[in-house]
Subunit: 337 residues, 2 copies
């Protein structure tokens, strides 16, 4: 990989794409050139980067020729159509979609957790699901000192995970609600203003798990290299714009005190402890938004496990940043060594 690689963002006009460009700029990513691609529908849009306006180009068969690193966030169909060909020609693809995440030869990377798996890539590196990333950042350092046996989680997921149109629907439907006007949801299946609903991913008719839950479970196991980790998770969409919150109850192999967990988390990269009992100040999506760190707090013993092996916590992370764009750019940074 050259010290100043040529970089492309595919899906540059989406909610995550815009953040990918912003992260490359904010982190001073050392690149020789940046090209922006999207579907023909979004071609021509201008996006600012380092004081210049870059024009989004329509993606085509040979668009990524000569590109060293391609950051994909354009949906599974686009990833499947363009990523393998680009990888075969020497581009390293970092894919924010779910198309390749569970392929055994594709590293699924949260750099704070398993950066070492990057070097085994075969041209495609997968950026995990946002819930998996935000949960993995605090779980991994704890798992290293005391293996985690079971996680029970409930999520409070923001609109951004369903894209820019969902964020706009949350805003527009709330405006309508406050004005006493009717609003017919288009992006979401259910009214979003001052409402919440079980995650919008399709539900397995047999097991009752939804697609988001299935992804979170499989990907967490792969990221943590813990194939037997037992995870029960409920994914819920809440009327919040761009940060996910997760309530987790974590059972360890051996007894675990809150004090010990706090020491581990205080030293963990990517974690910021927000745990002020006296002022009732804990992780919140408004404070996680725009931040690279995952906020961790409400650390306490799980009152339902008398064995002293379980800890409860509340975490919040920016879905668009650490849950997507930032994590992808952090992977790209590791490629530079």
């Amino acid at each position: 990989m050259p010290a100043f690689p040529s970089v492309a963002v595919v899906g540059a006009s989406g909610a995550v794409g815009v953040e990918l460009v912003a992260c490359l700029e904010a982190r001073g990513f050392p690149l020789s050139s940046l090209r922006l691609f999207a579907s023909a529908r979004s071609a021509g849009r201008q996006i600012a980067f380092r004081g210049e306006m870059l024009t989004v180009e329509a993606i085509g068969e040979d668009s990524l020729e000569g590109v060293d690193i391609a950051l994909f966030s354009a949906g599974s169909t686009a990833s499947k159509a363009y990523a393998p060909r680009a990888a075969a020609r020497g581009t390293v693809v970092i894919d924010n979609g779910s198309a390749f995440r569970m392929e055994p030869e594709v590293p699924l990377v949260v750099p704070e957790v398993n950066a070492g798996t990057i070097e085994g890539h075969h041209g495609i590196i997968a950026n995990p699901n946002c819930v998996a990333i935000i949960a993995a950042v605090p779980l991994a350092p704890l798992h290293r000192v005391n293996p985690i046996r079971r996680v029970i989680a409930a999520t409070y997921q923001s609109a951004s995970g369903a894209g820019a149109a969902a964020m706009e629907e949350l805003r527009a439907s709330t405006v309508a609600y406050l004005a006493g006007e009717a609003f017919a949801p288009v992006v979401m299946a259910h009214p979003y203003a001052f409402n919440l609903f079980s995650h919008d991913a399709a539900v397995d008719g047999e097991t009752g798990e939804n697609g988001e839950e299935i992804k979170a479970v499989r990907e967490l196991r792969k990221i943590l290299d813990a194939p037997d980790l037992r995870i029960g998770i409920t994914c819920v969409r809440v009327p919040v714009l761009r940060a996910h919150t997760i309530a987790m109850t974590v059972e360890f192999d051996r007894p675990m005190t809150v004090a010990a967990a706090r020491v581990v988390l205080a030293a963990a990269p990517g974690v910021r402890i927000v745990d002020d009992r006296a002022s009732n100040h804990f992780p919140m999506p408004n404070e996680a938004s725009g931040q690279g760190d995952v906020l961790v707090g409400r650390l306490r013993e799980d009152a339902s496990d008398p064995s002293g092996r379980s800890i409860a916590m509340l975490v919040a992370g920016d879905q668009l940043l650490k849950g997507a764009a930032l994590n992808a750019v952090q992977i790209a940074e590791r490629l530079l060594g």
Copy 2:
């Protein structure tokens, strides 16, 4: 108790008080007279009941003389000041506050669950915390067929639980947010627009549990008559106006199938199953609002418990109705026999 008792509502101008009057009307409660009381600050306000406008009176020492049933929702201070005296003079007090709930001689009642405890009252009957009620309605019938050993829950609690002023702050702060204007929270400690936060009850500095969690645990055990029930709960306030949602993982004494749980819940009073996997339609606060039933769905095996003894579910109930006013009026109805 006379067939047509004289009734008073204390705290009639609050969010729950208004719903108490509305429930008495909607359910055709057989009363001979209705008087409305509140603090001196709210006296003079007019509230409609059966086509008449009733005037809210300032509560005083002897206000409840001759009242057969007094429905209190005026805060713990008012309950402590007026309820014991009224009870000693023959009024049956149904108290929506937390002042007396854990007193051993005070029945803590969800009529679908433990109506039989009402007859042991000594003048005061306690209406439980809203989370405890909404959780107890589906848990109790399951507990009867297969004892529950452990519950892990995360709540999505609406503004209404913090009163009418909190509901107004959620609306007003959202209007300001959408207009790009600053808003200084007054009722809540944190910004509420498109945000969520750990429940606003004070946090125990030792255990890290907040007051809402402590209430929910203690009260659920009392309502279910299950003093050893292990409960781990995380209470969170979400930007929803008036219905609470709870994600629960429930571990039973013996193996429990989803099919068996569904049969029990389908026959349970106060429960409405909303569990359509094909159309991704599950309990939501907007559909629970204004409803007396607790909506129950997302019924599935807990993937983290290979023993087959655990079920996950999502429930939603109107905090102001079944979580407060309706439950109190249902208790009053049982007093009439």
